[in-house]
Structures are given as C-alpha cells and as structure tokens.
Symmetry: C2
Subunit: 98 residues, 2 copies
C-alpha cells in the first residue's frame, strides 16, 4: 500500500512541476499582452480582435491534435485566457494603466 | 505606421510561441492526471481531493507573486484545469477508460 501511495505522490510531484512552468509561462504571456494593450491604446485599436482569435483557435486546435490534447478543451482554454486579456486591454484603454 | 504594425506582429509571434508551449505542457499534464484517474479508480479514491487542491492553490499563488502574475487569476486558472481533470476522473471511475 505504501508503494502505491508513493506512485500517487510521484504523479503529483510531476503535476506540481508542470504547474510551476505553466505559471511562469502565463506570467510572460501577460507581460506581452500588457504591451499589446498599451499599443492598442496608443493606436486606438479595439481591445479584442475576432479574426486574430479565430486564427489562434485554429492553430492551437491543430497543435492540440499533435500533442494528444482535447482540441475542444484547448479552445476553452484559449477563450479563458483571452477573456482575461481583453479585460486588461479595456482597463488599459480606459485608465492608461494596468 | 508600418514599423508600428511590425511591433504588434512581433508581440503576437511571441504570444504564439508561448501558446504552443502551453499546449504541449497541458498535454503532458493531462497525461499524468489520466494516470492519477486510473490510480484513483483502482484504489477507490474520490475524483477530487479538496485538501490537495487547497495546497495547490496556495503554492501557485505564491509562485504567481514571484512571477508577477495576478494570484487571483492563477487561482481561477487552476480551478479551470482542475474542473476538467475531475470530469476526466469521474469518467474513468464510471467507465474504466477516458
């Protein structure tokens, strides 16, 4: 039984490592989208860009298939991130800062 | 104006690279949680584990602060992922496969 429990611990250690990597990658992603937000404000571009988003979804769904990840989950994931990004962009447009 | 547009393209290229990395990391994460799902079925453990989830949230919020990522967004992000994982675990428990 102890050996089995050890197996679960090992899975969880790997999940924790991946989660750390995800957090640091997301932090970098938001640093860049923040710059995009300022750029859009400067150039009076809208906070969202449906064409760009559609292309992102298509590209990531293809990548998901290669990676054996559920493409529909990948779409929801991108939507989840993009919703936060658009919220940031609107905030930057309205207030000049984030 | 062309130079400015170039700047936006460069931001977007970096975002695309990060998104690719996120997709491949998520794919690996779900490979491991799938194993956890089978493990839990075998050992008759529940699909979710509130203690484990609480610890994960605390740990990732601390990491988020280090990475300059919004801790509350990080919490929502983990919740988003965990909801999908628990759905998988329930499916594995009920059907024996994913």
């Amino acid at each position: 039984m102890k050996e089995k429990y050890q197996e679960l611990l090992e899975y969880r250690n790997s999940i924790d490592n991946i989660d750390s990597a995800l957090v640091f990658l997301l932090a970098e992603r938001f640093k860049i989208t923040k710059k995009v937000g300022y750029y859009k404000r400067e150039h009076k571009l809208p906070a969202g860009d449906p064409n760009r988003e559609e292309n992102q979804i298509d590209r990531l769904k293809q990548l998901a298939i290669t990676a054996q990840l559920d493409p529909e989950f990948t779409k929801s994931f991108l939507k989840f991130i993009t919703t936060e990004v658009i919220r940031h962009h609107k905030h930057i447009r309205e207030t000049g800062s984030l």
